[in-house]
Amino acid sequence: MSATIIETVDITKIYGMGDISVAALNGINLKIEAGEFVAIMGPSGSGKSTLMHILGCLSQPSSGQYILDGEDVSHLDKAQLAAVRNRKIGFIFQAYNLLARTSALRNVTLPLLYNHVDAKLSVEDGDQKARAMLELVGLGERVNHQPHELSGGQQQRVAIARALINDPVMVIADEPTGNLDSRSGEEIMNLLHKLHGQGTTIVMVTHDPKIATHTQRTIVLKDGVIDTINHNGQHHPAAEVQHEAA
């Protein structure tokens, strides 16, 4: 039985006020089930970043409803949104966004600092969990390395471990391979596949059709609305390389 993780009802996002207002999103209706691996694509200005920010609870829709994991988060305040991000969402960014001069271990435990719900988790247990996560992403030997001592691919894997530490209901990946060479990019995609195989829900924003074919579904945005949804088939990205353009 699969639960719905994301459900949006007529989401809009309007920037500016009065005459000069611009609608970045113009009524998005979207449903993503647990365990799905979904790509959001679209040219720049299509609203994909805005949608990602709303789905990631980094900002709020101007109107419409966003139900995340059964909870309506459309009207939460800043602090409540932060708590939702902490408990339910793991972020992977294009630029890794690790804390400089901070060890891989401390970067991974960062979300635990702000976990007000499971505050009972002791520092030792948290560290142990973080080590396990670093092991999972293949960096078990590098827990004490700082970001500048790691390659781009390794830094991104630290970021993935950080995204997973609070057992989120979904991971949002924003161009996760955008800053990486093709080999490292491939490693990261393989890692995302591995996580997906273990049941993690992943929403990935990308402008690269080739990367998008790794996923099960590609949602293409254009001018703030969903243009097309492509079903890429199940778990066989290699077979989908010949994906037909929308």
């Binding site: 920010h53 400089a100 001069r101 702000y114």
Partner: protein
Amino acid sequence: MKPLEAIRIAWEAILKNKVRSLLTMLGIIIGVAAVIIMVAISAGTEATIQDQITSLGSNLVFVQGAMTRGGPGQAPTGGLVYDDAAAIQDGVSGVKAVVVEQNSSETVKAGDVTLEDVEILGTTTGFPSVRDMDISEGRYFTEQEIERKTKVAILGYDVAQELFGDASPVGEYIKVGNTQIAIIGVFKEKGLVGNTDFDSRIYMPISVVFQKFTPSMFARFMGDSVRMIYVEVEDGVNQDTVIAGIERLLVKRHDVTTDTEDFTITTQQDIISTRESTTAAFRSLLAWVAGVSLIVGGIGIMNIMLVSVTERTREIGIRQAVGATPADIRLQFLTEALMLSVVGGLIGTLVGISGAYIFGALSDMRTVIQASSILLAFGSAAAVGAFFGYYPANQAAQLDPIEALRYE
């Protein structure tokens, strides 16, 4: 975020920028050290004054003349005259000794050495015992020498040094104004008591001073005016009774009423109180000055925290993305500001204590480190940190996560 975590993060942030953190703390360090050292100096001064005054004994009553200006064609009336002293000695019970003082300022010459504006103090035989002065060489003058207006003098320690160096002045002659005076003794070093430098004066029989240095055309009718009469009260006699007795006597002698008195009577205790209030005012002035430097230090902290918030915008964005609430961010930066001021306060306290100690050891000023000043300085430093840290912390807390993550 747990407070302990906030402290750890703040500590790490401070260590990542050691030089900058130290420079930021400098204002607080100087402020706190200044408060402690300045309070220690003024408390030391106060203690020294207290000691000096109490060493004189507390059974002295000072009667001072308050001159009233006469109208046109009238002589300036009032003030104390020499005969008042004898009248107090004879007419008021409970009086042990009476000493009279009259002073003048003269040019003094001894051989090639000339000193300008030396205080010449004419006094009586009771002076050394009432004011606790000891002769180191020679002798003090006698009752007979006062009566005969013998031109003799006893030098204060500093005057003797300046006029004769290490040579013995006893038996030498000096010229005071136009008068030749024989030196018969030198006082031991006494130092400063209140505002009076006992070592830089020349002491003479009061009659000589009246005749040579403060002659008055009215003296013939009214008696020679004097500056001050010291009355030593007998042990076990109530000081207030003696004061009342002196007042009654002088009102009658001077033909004034209690409202138009031409003299004032003060006690050792009054002088102590005046001193205390002056040093207290001095101390609070110093504390204010030091307080201002604490505020300047606080502004320095605010400045650096604002820079730090801007520099770490991306870090703030990352923390927000992984779930830091505005309150978490505020706590983090407020803790950092507080830690800068508290660590600065601690260093300042160490600098202040050792500074006050070294200052006391190296100079002839006494310093007394006050626990209250340490608490005050340290408390103000923490308050300054909290006050000036709040605004930058709040700026950080208000950042939009998307903007912050985009910040390069």
